[in-house]
């Protein structure tokens, strides 16, 4: 099965040729890796921004960072983390894994795929050139400072003079178009290119969840694009979509943005669910509990998540009936999400848990996501939201689901599939350090934010007065942030060291069951010498246990 001829062996070719190969590549695996590298780069950038935010909030009345810079920092941090860290990382994983998992040679449209990546990267570059050329009110080099959801009319020319907001619009718009091409490609690939015998209800759960994810992207991103175009027309063509002076509506922007924004949070969560659904069974040595209900729950989440967006607008003063509806819909989404949590937990039951690094991250995910999901329920309780909305309690909620949820899962995915992509194992020792520093730092950072929020601390403030009981919790948060920074440092060290001199991985280091482990590590450019034929959800289990194959039970 192993095929000698892989990326590594061409070390002899000069660097320029190699780089040229990467830049012009249309191989889904390389594009996947490019996405992940891009994401890691922006993770550092967004992380440094977050550390600066935390430094400024270390003590009350701190003067380290002025208001304008601070407001730019949280805008850039939020935009970067969502559009240029989580999105490319999940695109990267999907790109790398989906064709391998469904047993095909590449995605449906390889060149479109490359275009998608370059658009995403280009979008990130546009956003960051604002630091060098955005000629806002404050002179040369001014990043957008309107928050990651850029509420109107703060983005209108009257309040956002200069060009910095345009960089936000264009950067996210361009990368959004890239994301759309990614989704089109993914859907076509999953629907039409599965290995012979692999029915749609036999794909690995990661693939299934990516299919729903791509569907959400198709429905949710175009409205954002449209809204951004409207905003551009307002800013440059004299249109009045969000111009409240001329009858336009600031609330229309909120509806359009959150119609994208809420599905977007699930777009970031579903791939994480998918990764967890791969890692938990393998390291429990058990089949996933309730595949069918897992798949159904995913579809339900995708569907319901299109109908809850106004829970971001409970304080806007909508109609009572709307508030009630969106509150109930938000509660409802707890049911399918709960099913997932229960199924993962049940998969652990009776297993033989191997607490390797991917599993550590997966278990960390389960705990953190549970907390974040439950605070989401509190936020969806409308009157409670009137108190804690836009406070640090909310900041805590979404970091628990986004960071403790999505990013922990993606980190676990890095440890799990790194051996496949590089042929080397990541160091388990450094991995454990990475995990524990992240886990402890994370809870120290975002746990206290719940309390700061309940004590009345609003989000997006560059400074605060002493004596409100906020100081201590902020200091804990800042300490946690730096502990986490060290954790990430170890991760990067681990990546470099293991790539250089890690243990050889072999084709199937985790003794796993999905098709990507049936080919060499790293896989040849054509993935499989022979396209496998599939009869069940765990083709490699069938291979390894001919006496007790899965297809008997499905």
């Amino acid at each position: 099965m192993a095929i000698a001829e892989t990326g590594q062996s061409s070390a002899a070719s000069p660097l320029v040729t190699q780089l040229h190969g990467w830049v012009t590549t249309v191989d889904h695996k390389r594009i996947g890796i490019l996405y992940i590298l891009m994401s890691l780069f922006f993770l550092v950038v967004g992380g440094v921004e977050a550390l600066l935010i935390r430094l400024q909030l270390w003590v009350p009345n701190n003067t380290l960072i002025g208001p304008d810079t601070f407001n730019q920092l949280f805008t850039m941090h939020g935009t970067t983390m969502i559009f240029f860290v989580v999105m490319p990382m999940l695109s990267g994983f999907a790109n790398y894994l989906v064709p391998l998992m469904i047993g095909c040679r590449d995605v449906a449209f390889p060149r479109l795929n490359a275009l998608g990546f370059w658009l995403a990267l280009f979008g990130g570059c546009i956003l960051y050139t604002s630091y060098f050329t955005g000629d806002a009110l404050y002179g040369l080099g001014s990043a957008p400072d309107v928050g990651w959801f850029a509420y109107a009319p703060l983005t209108s020319p009257a309040y956002a003079r200069g060009g910095s907001v345009d960089y936000w619009i264009l950067g996210t718009l361009v990368s959004g178009v890239g994301t759309l091409t990614f989704a089109v490609n993914l859907i076509a690939t999953i629907l039409t290119m599965r290995a012979p015998g692999m029915k749609l209800n036999q794909v690995p759960l990661f693939v299934w969840m990516m299919l729903v994810d791509a569907g959400l992207i198709i429905v949710a991103f175009p409205p954002l694009t449209a809204a951004q175009i409207m905003l551009l027309l307002d800013r440059y063509a004299g249109a009045h979509f969000f111009d409240t002076q001329a009858g336009g509506s600031a609330i229309l922007w909120q509806h359009l943005f959150w119609f994208f924004g809420h599905p977007e949070v699930y777009i970031m969560a579903l791939p994480a669910f998918g990764i967890i659904s791969e890692i938990v069974p393998v390291f429990s040595r058990k089949v996933i509990f309730g595949y069918a209900s897992m798949a159904a729950a995913t579809a339900a989440i995708g569907f319901i998540s299109l109908g809850v967006w106004a829970h971001h607008m409970f304080t806007v003063g909508l109609d009572d009936r709307l508030d009630a509806f969106f509150s109930a819909a938000s509660f409802l989404i707890a049911v399918p999400t709960g099913i997932k949590i229960f199924n993962w937990t049940a998969t652990l039951y009776g297993g033989r848990l191997q607490l390797r690094t991917p599993m550590l991250f997966a278990l960390g995910f389960l705990g953190m996501f549970l907390i974040g999901g439950l605070t989401g329920i509190m936020l969806a309780t409308v009157p409670v939201d009137w108190q804690v909305s836009d406070s640090y309690f909310l900041v805590a909620h979404f970091h628990y689901v986004l960071f403790g949820g999505s990013l922990f899962a993606l980190m676990g995915g890095c440890y799990y599939w790194f051996p496949k992509a590089t042929g080397k194992m990541l160091s388990e020792t450094l991995g454990a350090w990475h995990f524990w520093l992240l886990f402890v730092g994370f809870n120290l950072l975002f746990g206290p934010m719940h309390i700061a929020g309940i004590m009345g601390m609003p989000r997006r403030v560059y400074t605060y007065e002493a004596g409100q009981g906020w100081d201590f919790w902020n200091q804990l948060s800042t300490i946690g942030a730096f502990i986490m920074g060290i954790g990430f440092l170890i991760f990067f060290i681990n990546l470099v060291l293991s790539l250089r001199s890690g243990q050889k991985a072999g084709d199937d280091p985790w003794d796993a069951w999905t098709l990507e482990w049936a080919t060499s590590s790293p896989p040849a450019s054509y993935n499989f010498e022979q396209i496998p034929t599939v009869r069940s959800r765990r083709p490699l289990w069938d291979l390894k246990h001919p006496e007790d194959p899965d297809w008997k039970y499905e």
Partner: protein, 203 residues
């Protein structure tokens, strides 16, 4: 990277036939059109939300002409028919029939654009309706403009595909022509919605 070597060493087996009723390209096009539908829905919703919210005119009733819209619609709807005939001709392997019907489609499309241009000219110079005039202008030009932009794009695609077919550059199995016709039908369908929302309801 030395991919070529690989190909020489190990012959790649033929691609696997899929059990799915649609081809990858068809699924791709269908998904793309879904996203386009989401895009246009947003513009239509914005139009509907602001309908009748203006304090200053002109209003749709004052400035839009249903007659002209009907004529314009006839061009575009007709072009959906002609492109269907072109596809039939293509299936019957009649290159000339295909070319004639494609030419008809393109002509109708151009006529539609000319009609739109004529309408806009009148709106701008006689009624003084610009994108900045009021909310109707804002939403109207954005919606109609994006639709017209799609028509223009479609016309370019139709022209290119016709020339490629005539030059024999597309294999008989190529799906490109078929997919372009899907796109054209979609643009048409969007117009039907626009006609209902903007012209029918408005006047």
């Amino acid at each position: 990277m030395s991919k070529p070597n690989v190909d020489e060493e190990i012959p790649i087996p033929p691609p696997v036939e899929s059990e799915f009723p649609l081809s990858p390209a068809q699924v791709g096009m269908a998904t793309f059109l879904c996203s386009e539908a989401a895009f246009f829905s947003t513009l239509v919703v914005a139009y509907l939300i602001y309908l009748g919210e203006d304090q200053t005119g002109p209003t749709p009733a004052e400035s839009l002409s249903l007659t002209r819209a009907v004529i314009n619609s006839a061009f575009l709807l007709g072009s959906s028919g002609t492109i269907m005939l072109a596809m039939n001709a293509r299936k019957a392997k009649s290159l000339n029939g295909f070319s004639v019907w494609m030419f008809g489609t393109i002509t109708l499309g151009v006529l539609f654009l000319v009609g739109t241009a004529y309408e806009w000219e009148e709106l701008i110079y006689q009624d003084g309706l610009t994108i900045g005039r009021n909310l109707f202008g804002t939403t109207f030009y954005t919606l109609i403009g994006f639709h017209a932009f799609h028509v223009t794009l479609g016309l370019v695609l139709l022209t290119v595909i016709t020339f490629l077919e005539r030059a024999g550059r597309l294999s008989a199995k190529s799906e490109a022509t078929e997919l372009v016709s899907w796109y054209w039908h979609f643009v048409d369908a969007v117009w039907i919605v626009i006609f209902g929302v903007v012209y029918w309801m408005g006047t």
